[in-house]
Symmetry: C2
């Protein structure tokens, strides 16, 4: 979500794929079809072979990353981006361990979701299957290649990867290792490919028929650019403008702790809050306790008039309510009622995660029922909105779109389903004529 | 899917919504939020009130339909379109009965799909919720208004409806009745609206933020035009180029019956087959039996060279393999192997429904595993690809996209989910520091 190529830089005519890219994507798709036929065990072994190869290539990968870092330093990349670009031994070992853990997760494929006899001898099943090929556009962040490639293989999908330009050398070294590992498994190495030029990454948008889903991990503007320029479905991972509403009936200490954690525990994440909404009856007591806590956490506050009257020193403009700071900045508004808070959220929220702090169960239930965000929380930090924390083992991103998959998306975001119907010469005419009737008996899954 | 406005007629600049339409859609959205809070029983009662009102307004609706029919006859609408436009007493009663049945279907909302303690006192749930507002563009077919409106209300969604122009009078009369019914229920009548002009239906594409899903029931070209001109997700209901492959090991009588049914039982449907692929070893015997059967059913056959050598009189061009006839026409190709059939399908199929006739279980399993269509069938007619036949009670359409919802889509295509997390002051910092650990215990659903 952060450090991705700025959308305006992409805003040029989307080129057609080169014959070379088309050939590569077609070959990748064919190999992905074979991958989809691999057993759970074969895909697990492929992940272990990928992990082994990364271990064997550790030095080459770390050296490539050194080269990326040097170039980035010369280009004076921002410190936050440099730290994300940097791949040290600890980070690499963590990523390798992540791949081994992913191998252990339950198989997302071949799950029977429906099993129903439509009539005697005419049996319908709904079975989870891979999407096919996913295209993932991500930040200049070498560990993302490993995680995304592993997620793709585990779920039986081919993957076309495009990382931030600054990480090209690291990503290439990692991809080479992953492919070496796959070469020792039942999975063809060419189910993975890495795009390294901007032209190729733009042309990816025109690979409809060869790519089934594009996952842009980038800014809102990037996601929107991609949605506007492709017919391929896009997993709408966008910005997070998350809210915390503090009700008039509340455990004050708890609410202050939740507010500080939701903002300051990792402010660059999309699941950090940007706006605090305070019920007018609790605002004085809450701010009395919270102002020192925010000051200690280094949070800059911007308030509406009522909040400023209670000690918030800077004023919030209308723009503040619509801004994802991704930084230690928080806007504060005092509201007359929960309804006013709900209206504010409906207007400004990006439908990522919204929190209420209240001790009143009825109030909480009303909030949880009426706020239409992917996550609606009571009395806990917005920072829990995360695939690992939800227990999904890994995540491809957080979707802020309304349609499923929504919220933190794990392996299940990379699978779809297929209906299988097995009969014994059954024809529709017999049911149209009334000669036979559907029975629709559910069978054990 | 059929008789929808031709895409080329839409191919003009998409206008911005008028202030009036924006106001109507905003109001509709607000009422839809209230509808989402209604109980299962309230939504059931709303459907029954809609059915009652349709009964009370039966004469007015039938008269409006008479007017539509007269105008359409003057415009010399094709007989198939006239017959779809016509709403007689029987059709109307059937639609009313359908609404009452829909009321009885299990509630698609408030279903708990996941229930997990992340830690003591920190409990995650995933709950099905409505999408919000759906926009449905459909053929000049008055019964569709009733079905779509009932599906929307049952699943807690507002709906913006746009039917084919020729049915405007019928649709308006029906909508008026439905709203009269809703006025006697807990659901506000303004959760439904009907667009009657082409300008409004184009402007619908720009109602992002107010409409969550667009369901175009129309031609491939219409669906593609909409996908290219909106940021709102589109349920990709497209054409069906379905195949039947007859293996060399087969029950001949059964295969002939399945082939004839798949083509001729209702050739205008998207789930009818367009191409028959015959293994070369079975082609002579199969065609000897099938040619008279197809002739009797009035099916025009177009074959490749090998099929023509076996008695098919007309030749198929390359275009035939890529054509959805929606008529009593069938292309036939003789293949050397199942692999050749699989390649043909991968190239030409619209991934709707593909059938194999074979008595060899291994062959069948290979076909069912490798063909990536929404439906993969063995020894039964492609015509079973239908929400009613699958036992979904009702369908909003058949999706040929890869991502879920795929295939026949019932009520579940109109719902999404939301994560609810309830804690007792839990903050992320405690897990980052190691003071607390996630337990990820699944709880009963």
């Amino acid at each position: 979500m952060h450090g991705s190529p700025p959308a305006q830089a992409l805003n040029q005519a989307v080129p057609d794929p080169s014959p070379e890219l088309l050939a590569r994507a077609s070959s990748l798709r064919r190999h992905a079809i074979d991958l989809a036929q691999c057993s759970d065990q074969q895909r697990q072994e492929a992940l272990r072979a990928m992990a082994d190869a990364l271990e064997q290539q550790r030095e080459a990968i770390l050296l490539a990353n050194q080269d990326d870092l040097q170039a980035a330093e010369q280009e004076q990349l921002a410190p936050a981006l440099l730290s994300r670009l940097k791949l040290d031994r600890t980070k690499l070992d963590g990523a390798i361990a992540g791949i081994r853990q992913l191998a252990q997760l339950p198989d997302p494929l071949a799950q029977r979701q429906l099993h129903r006899a439509l009539d005697e001898g005419l049996v319908l099943e709904r079975i989870s299957v891979p999407l096919g090929v996913v295209g993932v556009i991500f930040e200049a962040r070498p560990d993302a290649v490993m995680q995304i490639a592993a997620l793709a293989i585990r779920s039986g999908n081919g993957a076309i990867l495009k990382g931030g330009r600054e990480a090209n050398r690291s990503c290439s070294a990692i991809l080479a290792a992953l492919q070496q590992g796959l070469a020792r498994s039942a999975v063809h190495p060419d189910v993975l490919t890495l795009l390294t030029s901007r032209e190729e990454s733009l042309a990816l948008l025109k690979l409809d028929g060869l790519v089934d889903l594009i996952i842009p991990r980038g800014s809102n503007a990037l996601v929107q650019f991609i949605q506007d320029n492709t017919r391929i479905p896009v997993l709408g991972h966008a910005d997070g403008i998350c809210h915390l509403y503090v009700d008039r009936q509340v455990d004050l200490d708890q609410a202050v702790a939740v507010a500080v954690d939701s903002k300051a525990q990792y402010p660059a994440a999309c699941n950090a809050i940007e706006t605090l909404l305070l019920h007018k009856e609790i605002a004085p007591a809450f701010l009395a306790a919270a102002l020192p806590a925010f000051a200690q956490a280094g949070v800059e506050l911007r308030g509406d008039g009522a909040a400023m009257a209670l000690g918030v020193s800077q004023s919030a403009s209308d723009d503040d309510w619509a801004t994802e700071y991704l930084d230690l900045v928080l806007s504060i508004r005092v509201v007359d009622s929960m309804d006013e808070a709900l209206e504010h959220i409906a207007r400004y929220s990006s439908r990522h995660t919204e929190v209420i702090c209240t001790t009143n169960t009825e109030t909480a239930e009303r909030f949880l029922a009426r706020v239409d965000s992917a996550g609606v929380y009571q009395n806990c930090s917005s920072r829990f909105a995360d695939g690992f924390r939800y227990g999904f083992g890994a995540e491809v991103g957080i979707s802020t779109q309304t349609l499923p998959p929504r919220g933190p998306v794990g392996l299940e975001g990379l699978v779809t389903y297929r209906y299988r119907l097995r009969g014994d010469g059954h024809i529709a005419a017999d049911y149209a004529s009334g000669a036979r009737q559907f029975t629709h008996q559910n069978l054990p899954l």
